[in-house]
């Protein structure tokens, strides 16, 4: 996995003429793709395909046009095509999901009003406290969904699983990059 990251970094810095910001983006892109590939490789038997966040990450990078050349070089033409297809699928799926969710929210709001009225009459303070906590949890889950790539699709349990994986990969990414930084700094100075 370390080697993946390294080679990706090398590939990412192929176009030296880029400005600082672009270079950073290229670095980030390469490391992200490396993480995705690593996670896809790490689970050959457990899951038939890579995790959702990995796919979504690669798709997100593929969606931007300026990354196209770099990505193509890194992943290879076939892989890039898959990533582009995944990006397109994600866009459609996302719009569909938004529509579905809005519909559900409308119906749910109507139903919840009906349901909460008898509850409030019976339960009293306890139910309201529980409802408050549930609302807080729900809000935080929304935030998490926006954070974790590819998280809009999932709910509940799968979201937590994805978060777990994503946290692990982020951690390793950070450690790797720190090592690289240290190494390169010691080399220069």
């Amino acid at each position: 996995m370390a080697q993946l990251l390294l080679s990706l970094r090398e590939a990412g810095q192929a176009s030296k003429s880029m400005g600082l910001r672009e270079r950073r983006d290229a670095v980030r892109l390469s490391s992200d793709v490396a993480m995705a590939l690593a996670s896809a490789r790490a689970r050959p038997s457990a899951a038939p395909r890579s995790t959702a966040w990995a796919r979504a990450l690669v798709a997100r990078h593929a969606a931007e046009q300026r990354n196209e050349a770099l990505l193509r070089r890194i992943i290879g033409g076939a892989g890039y095509e898959m990533a582009a297809a995944a990006a397109r699928v994600r866009k459609e799926a996302r719009s569909r999901r938004i529509v579905r969710r809005s519909r559900r929210v409308c119906s749910g709001a109507a139903g919840r009003k009906r349901r909460s009225l008898p509850l409030a009459g019976g339960g009293g303070s306890r139910c309201s406290a529980m409802a408050a906590t549930r609302r807080m949890v729900r809000a935080r889950l929304q935030v998490l969904r926006s954070l974790v790539p590819g998280g809009e699709a999932m709910r509940g349990l799968s979201l937590l699983t994805e978060t777990l994986d994503y946290v692990v990969c982020l951690k390793t990414q950070v450690e790797l990059m720190q090592c690289l930084c240290k190494g390169s700094r010691s080399q220069l100075g």
Partner: protein, 394 residues
């Protein structure tokens, strides 16, 4: 729906008789089995609608048994049934969580992956079994009448063995096909009906789900530093969100730093990691660096393909570095050698990406005999990075 009732009835019948299971299965859900089921169910459960509800809720074959078990536990109208129920209740103690409902709800790979990540063997087996169960259920639905008697047989076999062995037998069965009569799916684990809690399908499934969520939260708690003091979903989620955000910010920052600090040092990158890993080759690494930088000369102009210019430099580096440090140079030469071995720079990179790590080592072996250095380096790196559950991820 009828299938579920048939299964329950057959299960009961099998408990009672324990020999003509096959006959029941052959007779099938249509004829005598159907009549028997209804009698049995009416006698025992008094709630034939329950099976229907259970079936509608989730994978019917799996769900029915905890429900039936709960029903068994409470009313024992027939002594034989009570005997069967007692045996069933006794065996239930041996098993752990049931996940028939979750099979329908979350029947994706993530279920299997998460247990592989952190949980104990029991949960993993139950998850795996749950995965297998779903295709079975789906297949049953599609196959229809012909499949149902076979499926009933398998259900009985599965239920019997699960009754006997509980959660232990779930791993070995593996991929059970629907056609085989004595196929052991064993995909549902039995939930102990706790006292004072409802035993209907809804609450059972919810409880299973809640337990799973709490498992994941526990793992996350271990993963995220500083989460031990906080208890409760909302606060923990807060912490997790903060942590994820900070990690992302760190990645951004580090990438920017790397981009500035390291304009274009291809040569030092492979040696960097190995330097960190070996940690004893610090001075030698610096000497290696100096040599590399001098010999390569950084001819990377803005135009032109960097890799093509890199390759001849790699060749030069090989000759220059070999006498210096065996371990380090072997590793670096392994990388260079790989890139030299295949023709075409772009093709090299792509083929590199498309292959597995093992094949990478393979090519290193073929090129030069440095697989020891490369594999050792990667292994030690993995050893550094690994925590208890992170190991599963990689």
């Amino acid at each position: 729906m009828e299938g579920s009732r048939a299964g329950a009835g057959d299960y009961i019948a099998s408990l009672l008789n324990s020999s003509p299971r096959l006959d029941f299965g052959v007779l099938g859900a249509d004829g005598g089995g159907g009549r028997e089921e209804e009698d049995c169910l009416d006698k025992f459960c008094g709630d034939p609608g329950f099976a229907a509800r259970a079936a509608r809720l989730s994978s019917f074959s799996g769900q029915r048994f905890p429900g039936a078990a709960g029903l068994f536990g409470l009313p024992p109208p027939v002594p034989a049934a009570s005997g069967g129920g007692g045996e069933f209740a006794g065996s239930r103690e041996a098993s752990s969580v049931s996940d028939p409902a979750t099979v329908m709800k979350d029947a994706n790979d993530k279920k299997r992956k998460a247990p592989a990540a952190a949980k104990g063997k029991g949960k993993e087996s139950s998850f795996q079994a749950g995965e297998q169960k779903d295709p079975d259920a789906k297949r049953c639905k599609t196959e229809g009448g012909e499949g149902s008697p076979v499926k009933l047989k398998s259900e009985q076999a599965g239920s019997d063995s699960s009754v006997e062995d509980g959660g232990q037998n779930q791993k070995p069965p593996g991929k059970g096909k629907n056609a085989k009569p004595v196929e052991p799916p064993k995909d549902y684990v039995h939930v102990r009906a706790r006292r004072g809690q409802a035993t209907d399908s809804h609450s059972l499934a919810e409880r299973v789900r809640r337990e799973r969520i709490s498992q994941r939260m526990k793992v996350l708690q271990d993963l995220v530093p500083g989460c031990n003091k906080v208890i409760g979903k909302a606060l923990m989620l807060d912490e997790i969100i903060n942590y994820v955000q900070s990690l992302q910010r760190q990645v951004e920052f580090l990438s920017m730093k790397l981009a500035t600090v390291n304009p274009l040092d291809f040569s030092n990158l492979p040696t960097l990691l190995q330097k960190d890993m070996f940690q004893a080759c610090g001075p030698s690494a610096s000497s290696v660096f100096s040599l590399e930088s001098s010999s390569s000369g950084f001819p990377f102009s803005d135009q032109g393909d960097v890799f093509q210019s890199f390759v001849p430099n790699g060749l030069e580096n090989q000759c220059g570095l070999n006498p210096l440090d065996l371990a380090l140079c072997q590793a670096t030469n392994g990388q260079y050698g790989f890139q030299d071995g295949t023709a075409g720079t772009n093709l090299q990179q792509r083929s590199y990406w498309e292959e597995d790590l093992q094949s990478v080592f393979h090519i290193d072996n073929n090129g030069q005999s440095q697989e020891n250095g490369v594999s050792v380096s990667s292994q030690s790196f993995h050893g550094q990075l690994q925590e208890g559950h992170m190991k599963m991820e990689f």
